[in-house]
C-alpha cells in the first residue's frame, strides 16, 4: 500500500510541473507587457525599461524560470505586479472559494450520478431508464454556462429560492454558504453527473452479470445487500476514475461559473490577472490549481486502493 502510494506521489510531479512550464512560456510569448500595462499609454520607453528591469523582466527567460522555481521551493512566489503584495497572500483569499466549489460540485455529481446510474440499471429499458438516459445525453451536450443561466432563471429569478449571484463563506453559516454555492456547484457538476450516470449504469449492468453476484444471491443474501454491497463495491470503481477526470475538468470550468455567479474564486482571479499581464499572480494561480488537482487525484487513488485490494499489490 505504501509503495503504491509512493509511486502515485511520484507521478504527481509531472502533473504539476508540465502546466507550469507551459504557462510560464505562453505568458512571455504572448503579446503585451506588464510594465507597459501598468504605466499606461503616456509612459516613455525609458520608464518602461526601468520598470521591466525592476521586475526582472529584462533577464533571459531561462534565468527568470530558474528564479521562479527557486521561489516555489522557498515558498516565495514573488509579488503581484498589480496588487503589489505577495502572491502567497493573495492566492488563499481566492483559492478557498474554488476548492469548495469544486468539492461541492464533485460531491453533487457523484451522488446524482451513482443514484441515477443505479436506478436506471435496476429498471433497464423501462420508461424511467429511457427517460434518464435521454436526459443524460442532453446533459452531456449542454455547456455549463448555458445551464448556469437556466438555473439562475428558474431558481433565482423566477422561484427566488436562491440568490442570483454573490458569495457567503462557510464562516457565515452553513445555510448562507449553501444558498450561494448550491446553484454554481449544480451548474458545474451537471455535465459530469450525466457522464457518471451513464458510466454507473453500464458498469452496474456489467457487474450484475458477474458470477459473484449469482453466488451472493445463491447464498441467500437479500437483494438489498447483493446490490448495495456486492455489486456497488465493484460497479462504483469506474465512477471513481471518472471523478478524478471530472475534478480536473471542473477546476477549469470553474472560471466561467465563477464569473456568471460573481464568486470571488481563482478562476475569476486568473482571468483578471491574465488581462493585466500579472505574471507572478497567473503563475501562482496555475500552480495552485495544479496542486489542488494533484491532491484530488491522489485522494482518488487512495479511495481506489481501499475499494480494490488487487491494485495495492501491482
Amino acid at each position: 500500500m505504501l509503495r503504491y502510494l509512493g509511486k502515485r506521489f511520484l507521478l504527481i510531479l509531472p502533473t504539476i510541473f508540465v502546466p507550469l512550464i507551459l504557462v510560464f512560456l505562453l505568458l512571455r510569448l504572448s503579446p503585451g507587457d506588464p510594465a507597459g500595462m501598468m504605466l499606461g499609454d503616456q509612459a516613455t520607453a525609458e520608464q518602461i525599461a526601468a520598470l521591466r528591469s525592476q521586475l526582472g523582466l529584462d533577464q533571459p527567460i531561462w534565468i527568470q524560470f530558474l528564479l521562479w522555481l527557486k521561489g516555489i521551493v522557498t515558498l516565495d512566489l514573488g509579488n503581484s505586479i498589480f496588487f503589489r503584495e505577495p502572491v502567497m497572500q493573495i492566492i488563499p483569499r481566492y483559492a478557498g472559494v474554488t476548492i469548495l466549489l469544486t468539492l461541492v460540485a464533485l460531491t453533487l455529481a457523484v451522488i446524482i450520478g451513482i443514484t441515477l446510474g443505479l436506478v436506471t440499471a435496476m429498471n433497464r429499458n423501462k420508461p424511467i431508464d429511457r427517460g434518464v438516459v435521454t436526459t443524460a445525453v442532453l446533459g452531456i451536450s449542454l455547456p455549463e454556462f448555458w445551464f448556469a443561466l437556466l438555473l439562475i432563471f428558474i431558481f433565482a429569478v423566477t422561484l427566488r429560492w436562491f440568490p442570483v449571484a454573490g458569495y457567503n463563506p462557510p464562516s457565515a453559516g452553513i445555510v448562507a454558504f449553501g444558498a450561494t454555492i448550491f446553484l454554481p456547484a449544480l451548474a458545474l457538476g451537471v455535465r459530469q453527473s450525466a457522464l457518471m450516470t451513464r458510466m454507473m449504469r453500464s458498469s452496474m449492468l456489467d457487474v450484475l452479470n458477474e458470477p459473484y453476484i449469482t453466488t451472493a444471491r445463491a447464498q441467500g443474501l437479500p437483494e438489498s445487500t447483493v446490490i448495495g454491497r456486492y455489486a456497488m463495491r465493484t460497479a462504483a470503481m469506474p465512477v471513481v476514475t471518472v471523478a478524478g477526470l471530472s475534478a480536473g475538468y471542473m477546476l477549469g470550468g470553474a472560471v466561467a461559473i465563477e464569473i456568471i455567479f460573481a464568486l470571488p474564486g481563482l478562476g475569476r482571479m486568473l482571468v483578471e490577472a491574465v488581462g493585466r499581464r500579472d505574471y507572478p499572480l497567473v503563475e501562482g494561480g496555475v500552480l495552485t490549481i495544479s496542486l489542488v488537482l494533484a491532491v484530488l487525484n491522489l485522494a482518488i487513488d487512495v479511495i481506489y486502493a481501499i475499494l480494490d485490494p488487487r491494485i495495492r499489490y501491482q
Binding site: P211, Y212, T215, A218, Q219, R229, R233
Partner: protein
C-alpha cells in the same frame, strides 16, 4: 414418501440407501420468452435425490444441465417460464415467491460454482463474504460468524484459516479458492448441495483433491448432492445415480454404475466411448459425430436422431423414457445390456 417412490418406479435409490428424499424434480420444463415467443430450453426433467446421495446431471455443453440447476436454485433468468414441480424436503418450492425462494438459498441449498475465481467477490475479503452469509442466514454475531467461518475453512482443509479470512480471492491458488467456495456452500447447514462443474476450472492434480473433499463432506454431513458434470469418470467414481441429458431432454436415468458399465441410450454410449480408457488399449477415442442442435432447432421425435447410427423411420416420433435392462432410456432402439 412411498408415494414419491411409487411415482418413480425405476428411479431406484442406491442399493445401500433407504433415506428420505431431499430433492424431487418432477416434469420440470423451462422456456425463455423472447421477441419471437417461447423458446424451449429444457423439457420434462424428472429425478430425485435422497439424503447422503450424489446424483450426476450429465451432458455436453448446451444440453440444459446448468439452467436446470438454476431453476432448482430459483435464480433462472427473469424471462424464463418454468413448469413442473420442485420439492425440497417435502415442501413444494416451485410455486413460491422469489423472495421465499431466496430464503431457501444458503440455509437449505448450497451452491458450488465452476470458476471460483469469478464466483467469489474480487474486492471483499473471504471472511467478509463468509460472515455476511452466516450472519444473515443464521443470525450470528460478528464474532460468532468469524469463528464459525474459521472452523469451516479449517474443515475444508485450509491451513492458517484466520489469516485466509482476512485475504482476498486473488491471493489464493485455484484449489484453495474452490475449498473456500465449498466452505461457503456448506456454511449454513444445507441439506442439498448443487455443484456445477466444480472441478472443470481446476488443474488435473487438484481436481481429485476437490472431488475427495466433496465426497467427504457428503458423507460427514449426510448431504444430498447434485453434481453437474460432463465427465463420466466423475460420474462413475463419485455419484450413486446419474441423469443423462441431451438437447434439453433426459435421455437416460439410472444407477451410475449401470450407466457407465452398460448404457442403453446410444448418446450415453457415445459419451463413454469419448472418454480415454487406460485399460483396454484403444489408441483412438471415438467421438460423437456432429454437434448438439441449438435450442429452437431440435428435430421432432428423438433429438439425438441426426447423430445416431441406429436411427430409422420410427425415430421421427418422440420416444418415452422407459426401462431397458437396468436403466431407463428415451430410445426406440436401445443398446442390449452387456453381460
Amino acid at each position: 414418501m412411498t408415494a414419491h417412490i411409487a411415482s418413480l418406479p425405476a428411479d431406484r435409490a442406491s442399493p445401500a440407501l433407504d433415506t428420505r428424499i431431499v430433492l424431487e424434480v418432477e416434469g420440470l420444463s423451462l422456456s425463455l420468452r423472447n421477441a419471437d415467443g417461447l423458446l424451449p430450453i429444457v423439457t420434462d426433467v424428472s429425478f430425485a435425490i435422497r439424503q447422503g446421495e450424489a446424483v450426476a446431471l450429465v451432458g455436453e455443453s448446451g444440453c440444459g444441465k446448468s439452467i436446470t440447476a438454476s431453476a432448482i436454485m430459483g435464480i433462472a433468468p427473469d424471462n424464463a417460464e418454468i413448469g413442473g414441480t420442485i420439492t425440497l424436503n417435502g415442501q413444494a418450492i416451485s410455486g413460491l415467491s422469489p423472495r421465499a425462494r431466496r430464503k431457501l438459498c444458503g440455509r437449505h441449498m448450497g451452491f458450488i460454482f465452476q470458476e471460483p475465481m469469478t464466483a467469489l467477490h474480487p474486492t471483499l475479503s473471504i471472511g467478509r463474504q463468509m460472515t455476511d452469509t452466516l450472519r444473515h442466514n443464521l443470525g450470528l454475531s460478528h464474532a460468532e460468524a468469524t469463528s464459525r467461518a474459521a472452523q469451516l475453512l479449517d474443515r475444508v482443509g485450509i491451513p492458517r484459516a484466520r489469516d485466509i479470512l482476512k485475504g482476498y480471492v486473488h491471493e489464493l491458488s485455484g484449489g484453495m479458492r474452490q475449498r473456500v467456495m465449498i466452505a461457503l456452500a456448506i456454511s449454513c447447514g444445507p441439506s442439498l448441495v448443487i455443484a456445477d462443474e466444480p472441478t472443470t476450472a481446476l488443474d488435473v492434480t487438484i481436481q481429485a483433491q476437490v472431488l475427495d473433499l466433496l465426497d467427504d463432506m457428503r458423507r460427514e454431513l449426510d448431504l444430498a448432492m447434485l453434481f453437474i458434470t460432463h465427465d463420466l469418470e466423475v460420474v462413475g467414481d463419485f455419484c450413486d445415480r446419474a441423469v443423462v441429458m441431451y438437447a434439453g431432454d433426459v435421455v437416460e436415468r439410472g444407477l451410475s454404475a449401470d450407466i457407465v458399465r452398460s448404457p442403453a441410450h446410444p448418446y450415453a454410449r457415445g459419451l463413454i466411448d469419448a472418454v480415454p480408457d487406460h485399460d483396454d488399449g484403444r489408441t483412438r477415442l471415438t467421438p460423437i459425430l456432429g454437434t448438439v442442435p441449438p435450442v429452437g432447432q431440435w428435430p421432432p421425435g428423438c433429438r439425438f436422431a441426426p447423430r445416431c447410427n441406429r436411427v430409422d423411420a420410427q425415430c421421427r416420433t418422440r420416444p418415452a423414457l422407459e426401462l431397458h435392462g437396468s436403466t431407463e432410456a428415451r430410445c426406440w432402439h436401445p443398446l442390449e445390456p452387456s453381460a
